[in-house]
């Protein structure tokens, strides 16, 4: 069975690094894997989505509507934007950060209230204020790895395998803090 993971967020939040870690762990585990990313214009502070699919043999590189097993959202408006990609029994892991899009800042649109509460009515939701947790760890940049740690519980790999791939993937100087961040999300 192919497993479908999506990582969504705002350009600059580190979706590409997270997907590299995910891609690496699936490969190490001997799966066939395909990843699809967004580069270029779409990244500049815009809505960003990355697909990761792994299984015995993967054909298409994208996850389509209604098919995501795990949706990892680094920002809550983006969670709402892509929630319809989730399977019925899919899991949403959401960072409760609010980043206002330019359409909201200029007053052309308004940021929806009670997003997470609304999503909890329809989906299995795991939420975390990862930015606050990351600041407690002393580096706000690793919030994405905290969220990944939370999502990792809903995938097919051991804690050790995750720590190993993090060590292999992130810049050497940041290995320790990223491992700590992962465990924060994984173990709570």
């Amino acid at each position: 069975m192919t497993k479908n993971i999506m990582i969504v967020g705002v350009g600059g939040q580190g979706t590409l690094l997270t997907s590299r870690i995910l891609g690496g762990i699936t490969l190490d585990a001997g799966y066939d894997v395909k990843l699809s990313e967004v580069h270029g214009m779409a990244q500049r502070g815009g809505s960003v989505v990355t697909f990761v699919r792994y299984g015995e043999k993967v054909a298409e590189p994208i996850v389509e509507e209604g098919q995501a097993d795990v949706l990892i959202a680094f920002e809550k408006l983006e969670a709402l934007r892509y929630a319809h990609f989730l399977k019925k029994d899919g899991v949403l892991v959401v960072n409760e950060q609010r980043i206002e899009p330019i359409t909201v800042v200029t007053g052309a649109a308004s940021y929806p209230e009670h997003i997470v509460e609304g999503l909890e009515q329809e989906h299995t939701v795991y939420k975390i204020d990862a930015m606050a947790e990351a600041k407690k760890l002393g580096n706000s940049k690793v919030f994405n790895i905290i969220v990944l740690g939370m999502a990792a519980k809903h995938m097919d790999f051991s804690k050790e395998a995750w720590l190993e791939i993090i060590e292999k993937t992130v810049p050497p100087k940041t290995v320790d803090i990223n491992k700590k961040a992962f465990l924060k999300g994984y173990e709570g």
């Binding site: 600059g12 894997v33 815009g46 054909a59 298409e60 590189p61 994208i62 408006l77 319809h84």
Partner: protein, 573 residues
């Protein structure tokens, strides 16, 4: 491996010795990966035409060469491409063209296969990263065998998807000996007449031979449904209809007619599943073969497996409607120097003829400065055309805006034209010392090559002066007061003028930001002046006062300059 990384690996394994390119999403990472191989000379050229000609020169001299570009880059390169199709090659010559169905990062959705048909150049189309690597190698084989340049066509979805790839060793082909051969490589009429005959014959032979190419493959299973497909759409067919028969075309031009006729005769219902233009479909139908294609599949955007489930299998795909949420379009980064320039133009109610780069985002609210964007380099010539149509008074509240990399790409020619034909417009060169939107590639004015060598940088100021322009002014992009004065002066002038606004891209490596901007809340009059340029680090508190996200702020100080009440301070971070 990313599709683009696999293409670079293919070039390496095929023994390519020269690679030239101009950055363009989604093709940029090809060069960024090729540069890792010391065996390949790799360069950023100022534009795709130059890059293609560099590759042509290398091929004529007898080595394998590659030029890579995005689809619209093929337009710039089409002049040499159409003619080298006649001349053919000495060492293998491959042009990688990356199409962008779905318009993730482009100004149009053109299909390179249409160009290739007109230029009579064969096209290969891989479906995943492994094929991307393998097809590049095969492209060099057929380039040399059939004496033709070959296009490898990718799409955004292939270029920016990762899949597993098996690596092989590099094969070092012997350089082809160079012998002078004007009949082949000097395309003047007498020679071109003969070469055109050759080209027509070459494409016929290739069409005939391609029936036995391994990359064109019939997969017979359930014959009640058959698909002719290629590239990424092949993967959607395998996903949605894993039991259907498929004719997978690795070469999409010229088409293997016999193979297609045979496949069509064996399946009951034939679909042609290709993104963008009905290139395969129109040819197949012209042979009297019944098939379904663009009657049910769109010519716009990307395809999907769900599309097949709905339109071919008549399955009702149960998906929820997406939630109605505010759009999150791309925006200029916090601290971007373009924002500062646009805030001045916006204040002066100046219209801008725009160009291609991050700064195209000046077209959208809240900046609303750019009125036109066509293609690379067009800003300057469009402004000139407006002046010639409506007179010089008409463009007093207009400027052209163009980035440093785009200016060197094709803006230079337009500026020469403005000087020559007595234009009076004002051109603003937004010099941020890099090719920003594609992810920070060097160019001729940065003083660094793709290989990282330090070289003399083209001086844009001196270049403009050398054209005979008397009024060329350099100004710090963040000095809004000075910039405003200069823009007023230069647009009032009845002569051509250039303003070079200087400040490096905030995302450029090595950039340090010693300042942060902070709100002084008790001074805030809630007027919103600081919000007008749309910096993403600024938001309103519930009471209407200003909040600044200090993780996003790069301390450029634009908001501080705009605040008349000292409600924002800029201090050392």
């Amino acid at each position: 491996m990313l599709g683009n990384e696999a293409i670079a690996r293919g070039a390496y394994e095929a023994g390519v010795k020269v690679s030239a390119a101009y950055p363009g999403t989604p093709s940029t990472e090809i060069s960024e990966n090729i540069v890792k191989y010391d065996e390949i000379y790799a360069e950023w050229s100022p534009n795709e035409k130059v890059a293609t000609e560099v590759a042509i020169g290398a091929s004529i001299s007898g080595v394998r060469a590659m030029a890579s570009m995005k689809h619209v880059g093929v337009n710039v390169a089409s002049d040499p491409l159409y003619t080298i199709s006649y001349g053919g090659v000495n060492g293998g010559l491959v042009l990688v063209a990356a199409d962008d169905p779905g318009l993730y990062s482009s100004q149009n959705e053109q299909d390179t296969r249409c160009v290739a048909r007109a230029a009579m150049v064969p096209v290969l189309e891989p479906s995943d990263s492994q094929e991307a690597k393998d097809f590049v190698k095969f492209a060099y084989e057929i380039s040399e065998k059939y004496d033709t340049p070959v296009i490898v066509r990718t799409t955004t979805r292939l270029a920016h998807s990762q899949g597993t790839v098996t690596l092989k060793e590099r094969v070092e082909p012997k350089d082809q000996p160079y012998e002078r051969n004007p009949a082949k490589f000097v395309m003047m009429p007498a020679n071109a007449i003969g070469r055109h005959v050759y080209v027509e014959q070459r494409m016929k032979v290739m069409a005939e031979d391609s029936g036995s190419f391994a990359i064109n493959r019939a997969e017979y299973q359930d014959t009640s449904i058959g698909f002719i497909t290629s590239g990424i759409p092949y993967q959607y067919v395998k996903e949605a209809c894993p039991n259907a028969s498929v004719l997978k075309l690795g070469m999409v031009h010229p088409l293997p007619r016999k193979l297609i006729e045979e496949f069509a005769s064996k399946v009951e219902k034939l679909y042609i599943f290709e993104e963008l233009e009905p290139v395969i479909e129109e040819q197949v139908k012209s042979w009297g073969i019944e098939a379904v294609g663009k009657e049910i599949f769109t010519v716009q955007g990307e395809y999907s497996a769900n599309m097949l489930r709905e339109k071919v299998l008549n399955e009702k795909v149960q998906v929820k409607d997406p939630a109605k949420v505010p759009a999150r379009p791309p925006i200029l980064c916090p601290g971007c120097p373009h924002r500062s320039v646009y805030s001045v133009l916006n204040k002066l109610k100046i219209h801008a003829a725009g160009d291609i780069g991050c700064y195209t985002l000046g077209a959208v609210p809240p900046l609303n400065v750019i009125d036109t964007t066509v293609c690379m380099g067009a800003s300057i010539s469009t402004l000139h055309g407006m002046e010639k149509a409506k007179g010089k008074a008409y463009i007093k509240n207009w400027v052209a805006v163009i980035g440093d990399s785009t200016f060197l790409h094709t803006g230079v020619n337009s500026l020469m034209n403005m000087v020559y034909n007595q234009g009076t417009g004002t051109v603003i060169i937004l010099d941020n010392s890099t090719t920003g939107m594609t992810g920070h590639q060097d160019h001729a004015a940065t003083g660094k090559t793709l290989k990282g060598e330090t070289v003399p940088a083209i001086n844009i100021y001196e270049l403009c002066r050398a054209m005979g322009i008397k009024h060329v002014t350099e100004v710090d992009a963040f000095d809004t007061e000075k910039l405003e004065r200069i823009v007023r002066e230069e647009t009032a002038r009845d002569e051509v003028s250039v303003i070079i606004t200087k400040a490096p891209c905030v995302l450029l490596k090595g950039n340090v930001f010693p300042y942060k901007c902070r709100p002084v809340t008790e001074q805030c009059k809630k007027c919103g002046a600081c919000l007008r340029p749309g910096c993403p680090a600024l938001t309103k508190n519930a009471d209407g006062t200003i909040a600044i996200d200090d993780t996003m702020c790069n301390g450029c100080g634009l908001c501080e300059q705009l605040c008349k009440f000292n409600a924002i301070e800029r201090a050392e971070a």
